[in-house]
């Protein structure tokens, strides 16, 4: 792999940057692969990378209908944390957090992993109770978390308003110091580059239009670039998970909703950390480039249009101003939407299905970005070994039948 480092940058700078190679090969599909991953988002790329790196499966392809990273990977607010309530969630999200920490180096691609800290606000006693329960569960699960009283919240994040007569006063917050944000596109590109280097074919602008099966087992996929034979298919398509699953008649408990986000004009640093509030339904951080990155809850209806309604944004702005009065005069520079795949228990699905060779990774809903490396890691293992590892086991489809849900509504928070 062509190394990325300062020295090289200087050398290239002196010679006109002519030596840089494509970050990943623009592959055309071969007639068959040992496994095919549908979806070139963060999770799909991570799955491919770990399949190649850990399980030595390099005769594989990632099939992406558009450009890699153009789905939710390219439109999420990049909040990273692992302070989930249940053991199963703590395990996967914390595993992801551990991987995030070393990822820039591992991929030799700076993903700008910023551990600026994530505050989850409590505005009433009920929330405080839930959050404290979560902090304690986190501690016992080895997840970094602490409780801050309102005064400490203010000290940690000075721009926040902790007025006592606010409609929803801030009465405290959980803080995960090693939570934060990162550069979403870089993650996809970094994984792609590393996977491609190991021989993984990344095939863009190739839509999967059908799945071929024989005797209840997959044999290949139909794509806009032709048929590709493969015994193993992983659908890692986030908002489109149901669309893919419907191709093989696999029923899923997933619904696709619009989730919007927006950015302000770029500003000099004002927000030291990530702040999320469930009660007033808003969250905000500041990107390295300077925009305030702001999100809210999903639009209530199903939609695949990647756009939502303005009233969600209007409410979100009112809430944001209540929480951060300094923002009132700032301006919204761009708003956009993604399609999030929501599961009834706000936890993901990493599972084999009744169709042999068809695996599903989805249902991450509003909060799967933070899990990207952990999800890819577990999914690769499932694909390679055809059985869920300890981390993936609680997230199989079986739980919707037995009722053994991983109900993370509280921890999944507004949007993650």
């Amino acid at each position: 792999m062509h190394g990325y480092n300062v020295l090289r940058l200087v050398r290239e700078g002196l010679t006109g940057h002519k030596g840089w190679q494509p970050a990943w090969r623009k592959a055309e599909p071969k007639s068959s692969y040992d496994a095919v991953i549908i979806g070139g988002g963060g999770h799909g790329m991570a799955t491919a990378y770990y399949l190649a790196k850990i399980h030595g499966m390099t005769n594989i392809a990632v099939i992406e209908k558009g450009w890699i990273g153009g789905g939710n990977a390219g439109r999420n607010t990049t909040i990273i944390r692992s302070n989930y309530l249940y053991d199963a969630s703590a395990a996967i999200y914390n595993h992801a957090l551990t991987l995030w920490k070393g990822l820039s180096r591992e991929l030799n691609y700076n993903i700008m992993m910023s551990h600026r800290g994530v505050l989850n606000l409590a505005h009433d006693e009920g929330e405080a109770r839930q959050l404290k329960r979560r902090v304690e569960a986190n501690r016992l699960n080895g997840v970094e978390a602490e409780w801050l009283e309102a005064k400490e919240v203010k000290a940690f994040c000075p721009p926040i308003s902790v007025a006592a007569d606010a409609r929803y006063p801030v009465i405290g917050a959980t803080l995960q110091r090693d939570g934060g944000t990162n550069r979403h596109d870089a993650v996809v590109w970094g994984y792609a580059r590393a996977a491609s280097e190991m021989g993984v074919d990344i095939i863009e602008q190739c839509e999967v239009t059908g799945i071929a099966t024989e005797k209840g087992a997959v044999t290949g996929i139909e794509t806009t670039k032709g048929h590709i034979a493969t015994p193993k298919i992983a659908s890692v398509t986030a908002g489109h998970t149901s669309v893919i699953a419907n191709m093989v008649g696999v029923r899923l408990p997933i619904e696709s909703h619009p989730l919007q986000a927006l950015v302000s004009e770029p500003l000099k640093p004002v927000m030291p950390c990530v702040v999320m509030s469930n009660a007033v339904h808003v969250y905000m951080s500041q990107s390295s480039k300077g925009e305030l990155v702001i999100g809210a809850g999903i639009d209530p209806y199903l939609s695949y249009t990647q756009r939502g309604s303005l009233d969600i944004i209007e409410h979100q702005m009112a809430a944001l101003i209540e929480l951060f009065p300094f923002v009132s005069r700032l301006r919204m520079m761009r708003q956009w939407g993604g399609i999030v795949d929501v599961c009834p228990d706000a936890s993901p699905i990493i599972s084999a299905t009744e169709v042999k060779g068809f695996y599903v990774n989805g249902g991450w809903g509003t909060g799967g970005w933070k899990a990207t490396p952990g999800s890819g890691h577990a999914m690769a293992d499932l694909l390679a070994n055809d059985r869920p590892n300890a981390i993936a086991a609680p997230f199989t489809l079986e739980r919707f039948v037995t009722g053994d849900l991983v109900a993370e509504h509280g921890a999944a928070a507004v949007a993650h």
């Binding site: 209908k65 558009g66 450009w67 153009g70 789905g71 390219g74 863009e204 602008q205 190739c206 839509e207 999967v208 239009t209 059908g210 806009t224 489109h240 149901s242 669309v243 893919i244 419907n246 191709m247 029923r251 899923l252 408990p253 997933i254 619904e255 696709s256 209530p300 209806y301 199903l302 939609s303 695949y304 249009t305 990647q306 756009r307 309604s309 303005l310 009233d311 993604g338 399609i339 009834p344 919707f400 039948v401 037995t402 009722g403």
Partner: protein, 121 residues
């Protein structure tokens, strides 16, 4: 923000309505021998189509009636509204040409951006 035609009150703004999820999922009568899987199908499993979806809405701020609506989730085109108990009307929709319906030059809505060669203007 949609304009939804409440079958009772007429055209109103989306903000007056509450979403009720996929329609025509009948609650199975209690049976001793109903399997967990059968019950899970009712409780959780959804078609979630990209295309025509029959869904329920309630006119929450208005007449408080539930009703059904056909909407193309690929475009958000509202195709029909009808009352609870009525069968869905036949409708035409601008359905996606491929399962995702999205042009290869982009993802999501990018498909709608530019007229491609061969596409009628």
């Amino acid at each position: 923000m949609f304009v939804i035609t409440c079958p009772y009150c007429g055209e109103r703004d989306l903000s007056e309505f509450a979403y009720g999820g996929e329609a025509h999922i009948a609650r199975p009568e209690w049976r001793e021998d109903m399997s967990d899987a059968e019950w899970a199908e009712f409780l959780f499993m959804r078609t979630n189509p990209k295309g025509i979806l029959a869904e329920r809405w309630m006119h929450a701020a208005g007449c408080r009636r539930f009703f059904n609506m056909l909407r193309n989730t690929a475009t958000d085109d509202i195709l029909a509204v009808y009352r609870i108990g009525e069968t869905p009307p036949k409708v035409e929709a601008r359905l996606p040409a491929t399962p995702s319906g999205e042009a290869p030059i982009g993802s999501g809505n990018d498909a709608v951006k530019i007229i491609q060669p061969g596409e009628g203007a």
